[in-house]
Symmetry: D2
Subunit: 360 residues, 4 copies
Amino acid sequence: MPKRLGILTGGGDCPGLNAVIRAATKTANSHGYEMIGFLDGYTGVVEGRYIKLDPPAISGLLHRGGTILGTNNRSNPFYFPIKENGEVTYRDMSDKAVARLEQMGIEVLLVVGGDGTLAGARDFKAKGARVIGIPKTIDNDLAATDQTFGFDTAVRTATEALDKLHTTAESHHRVMVLELMGRYTGWIALYSGLAGGADVILIPEIPWRIEGVLKKIEARRAEGKPFSIVVVAEGAKSPEGELVVQRQVEGSVERVRLGGIGQLVGKLIEEKSGIETRVTVLGHIQRGGSPSSYDRVLATRFGVAAAELAVQGFHGVMVCLQGNAITHVSLEEAVGKPRTIPLDHQLLTTARAIGISFGE
Amino acid sequence: MPKRLGILTGGGDCPGLNAVIRAATKTANSHGYEMIGFLDGYTGVVEGRYIKLDPPAISGLLHRGGTILGTNNRSNPFYFPIKENGEVTYRDMSDKAVARLEQMGIEVLLVVGGDGTLAGARDFKAKGARVIGIPKTIDNDLAATDQTFGFDTAVRTATEALDKLHTTAESHHRVMVLELMGRYTGWIALYSGLAGGADVILIPEIPWRIEGVLKKIEARRAEGKPFSIVVVAEGAKSPEGELVVQRQVEGSVERVRLGGIGQLVGKLIEEKSGIETRVTVLGHIQRGGSPSSYDRVLATRFGVAAAELAVQGFHGVMVCLQGNAITHVSLEEAVGKPRTIPLDHQLLTTARAIGISFGE
Amino acid sequence: MPKRLGILTGGGDCPGLNAVIRAATKTANSHGYEMIGFLDGYTGVVEGRYIKLDPPAISGLLHRGGTILGTNNRSNPFYFPIKENGEVTYRDMSDKAVARLEQMGIEVLLVVGGDGTLAGARDFKAKGARVIGIPKTIDNDLAATDQTFGFDTAVRTATEALDKLHTTAESHHRVMVLELMGRYTGWIALYSGLAGGADVILIPEIPWRIEGVLKKIEARRAEGKPFSIVVVAEGAKSPEGELVVQRQVEGSVERVRLGGIGQLVGKLIEEKSGIETRVTVLGHIQRGGSPSSYDRVLATRFGVAAAELAVQGFHGVMVCLQGNAITHVSLEEAVGKPRTIPLDHQLLTTARAIGISFGE
Amino acid sequence: MPKRLGILTGGGDCPGLNAVIRAATKTANSHGYEMIGFLDGYTGVVEGRYIKLDPPAISGLLHRGGTILGTNNRSNPFYFPIKENGEVTYRDMSDKAVARLEQMGIEVLLVVGGDGTLAGARDFKAKGARVIGIPKTIDNDLAATDQTFGFDTAVRTATEALDKLHTTAESHHRVMVLELMGRYTGWIALYSGLAGGADVILIPEIPWRIEGVLKKIEARRAEGKPFSIVVVAEGAKSPEGELVVQRQVEGSVERVRLGGIGQLVGKLIEEKSGIETRVTVLGHIQRGGSPSSYDRVLATRFGVAAAELAVQGFHGVMVCLQGNAITHVSLEEAVGKPRTIPLDHQLLTTARAIGISFGE
């Protein structure tokens, strides 16, 4: 049996996954290792579904969005859904998964994923499996790495949307609200708001009030600019939000999710300022598309670094970017440490210096 | 007083408006005419707000989205909103508008707009004003011209969104629903669905049923493709739609608009197929952005043709594209003739030949 | 043996070839036909190299540039290069090619190519083979079709380059020369020059003199615009060109081809106007990249139409676009009729109206 | 007289200059300072040509390439060209320039430029002028800052070109050579080569031989990949280069510049491998275009930081990026320290791990 490494991609889609797979496979092959790609996250390990990643399989992958291995947001070998007789029950299948890796002669399993998927890798490690994590999230919210691939592409997509909304806002003297991804942190909203010329940016880290938003919009109107651009991270919560929701839909919280926070902010602005307001929810478009040149390079570096470590016999770590260098930390250190925007972050100061409001 | 033409832009925003303004102004200037740009559609004519479009004013305009003249969706000189003592009343200000054109020495007014704005131009003409229409709509739904500028750019934007959703759909084995503009016609949905590899396209012209949609999704799943792309024009109505809405929100129709038809289709697919489904509403992004090369050329041709006609003493017509040539029709012929997709259109046959379902 | 169609792609690369292959295959399959893809143009037919185009083979093709079948600029079965003992001799291999189609049960061969490749198809037809042509050229220079796929994408690429050169020209007060493809016709240069705001456009159809070019550049300088954009089709010849070349390189014509006409024009402008001038040769970038939405739709229409005709038993024709409809003409009519820009073409008038110079 | 800052942009064009101008002006204005923009680099200071940068002047600047202030590659106040009687003489005009800043009440002059322009700022400082430098170069070759704005955009543009060449190379079984900017360093070539899937990257830092290039191309051919992508930085020199040039053009070194190193490499590959080879020189397209989201944010941060320092009374420094923070170094430290690629840089190791050849 040839020497073998394995790789899987878990969690939400993210531009650059294919570039990681390509780089790790090329590196492994150059050391005489086979690379096995497990399908649909951990599910492929549990169920024994995989493909061999040979040169034809990875040809043309560098610039392609998505992942040829498939992914699965909810694939957890420790709480694995089993369908029997039309019912789903959950079982711990981690022993089976670890055993399969041994049987197949997988020396090290490369696990590409966000915090949830990496937590799985850490728990695999605790059971004696040899794993190396590769961080992936468009939200850029892992504390152990300065940046994750996918983030730059998501920001680019959001910025392009803002550029398009800008001319329309100006021509129509309207307020344009753009809701972006970011359930727990506002990195995408902050970066793309800065890059796309937003007037107001609402993020989970900074409590906002609709009066704060209106103050900026009114100040612009007073300066002869009857249009404004408002960027809202999907996780930008507000006590006012709930109130308004209750008034609007008679106590039903469930229904408002249809529209999301962007819709709410848009409705409030229009009601209170009298300025026509339009809302766009960019949604999963932020997860797709060909990765940016930055993300392709970062993903390639991560893939090479992880495979090199594996070939050299290291494991139990996650590769990461620190400054300009790829290095690694232990999986235990890497997991469970979200990176939100510190309130004294230089980017916030920068944004405030050019007049951007955070709705305070 | 120098010889003068005037120009205004009305209706919804549309990539290429600035290219029209630039081309018409350059052409007018080359014949020794001044070009006056009225602000915010007809409002600028009624209220006497305008700018002189000299060479610096039009510099760098060709590739810019939006309109430097501003626009106004609801500006109608025959039913013009007047604010007095905090109340809005509506009056016929068309006499005043026509008189102003005379006083200012505007030989011909170029009116760039969609069907509503052009109807205003026709009614101006009936009062003796000299006007020339220039057709504009991203929806491509004017019968009197083979194509309008803005459409190609909107299709490009929608296609780019589909390209991004495609990789994510495939990686996650999900259904992705993309709601596009098109209240009365499905041209944008049909073109971008063809260009972006949609599996299902729902348009106002073809009644659809959710069973029709599911049939295609299930057929793909049976072929080993557990993901699908569904494009929905915002005006794609369904008798089922209403029903479901009532069941969902207890009879309240108003609230469902929050989510729109795309949300409805997504909810139905997820419920009935069990496949995870995500919905994106592209919204006003389709109206913005730098015009495509095609739209820049078409807008330039329209602007030149309209100004040339005006300088030569023609008026009362709308310029249009027929085959590969710019020509013109009377405003009376041009207005009020929407162009929907004929049910025997070759593009529909083409779409069906490659297996695209229209949800029938 | 199942019913079979064949397809090959010949001539220079062109965005949309894969979209044709995909559409033709889907259509053929839906009628129960197998589709055989011959590799590297006619070479694959002569040498018996081909692949079966089944659903996995065409998955994900719609938006990809290039051709999965490969192509060959010089593949001519009537004058086919044979390597023997290190020497290349040319033989007529057309009988062998036609015989192979028969043996393989190919009912109709779809030939996607430009004028050279289509001439081969016509000559095959004369030998009794059943062929259908699909026109392809980024130059848009086939008389028998209103437009070819690939042209819109090439114009988009050239226009994006012009947009980038524009800001740099303006910031540096420079002349920027962009050499574009177009050996015999200036369609790409004319369209992208109009779309990209060129000041001067030099094309094969209109003889130009450097004095004509300088006149425009000087006129702009006099108006306070010390920068200009000059677009040059690679086939824009000039009697002056030769003269200058001889002075520069002492009679050697061969060497100047290194630089091409763009370099020559740039050198002349800089010498004679004293304005710093920079030259860019866009080259094969114009042939690559993901096809535009327009080209994807047109390529799909051509692919469907050709396969439908073949399945219905038609052959000996080339599909084409006339107005908004796909139709077909005989191969004999289609071949050998280049479409250059008529000197009274409306686009030339339009360009002149906004002050574009053709260097006359 | 109001409190005043000044700003100028010098050296080659670079995406993000306008974003710096906008951010610095907004910041200055928010502190009650006027911002004066000098035109065409130092020339505007010497000659007293400038504009006031008020809010309308900077509206819409964020996403625009180029610089509204103009620039001048050769503007040096210490060696300033004076035209008299048709002759150009050079004089030291630095006293006059410094005096003008005093007269105009410019508290601090912000100088945006590359190494040459910043050297001028350092020399101004030595004469007692109050200046703050802002680093700018698409080449990313200043040692004192981890990154400069413009670089990410240039890499993006180069990567898009590589993506386009890739499909064409593959379809035609050709070698595609892309010559990129980088006279003294290969950062653009290395990054975009990694991001665009190059097989060979030739940079000034690593001596290459044509045999090294051919080895990679032949190895690919042996693996069934008869196409290759070769990226060449314009400053990638070779002893062989000269030789070949002499053989080719009879000793004339001057003429080869017409074609550049890319042409030379292409010619050598075609001659020695027999594979058809095409060369593209991307040229000034790399300096133009709307800045990437990354560059917009970095340029904004630099502009804000410089203006904040100036308002607080600091000067004599250059702002820079270190890790994730904007900070500053003295102008003396900043100038004259080029940043080339260290031969043990991690990116080189990464590139080699995935099989990229540097032509050694």
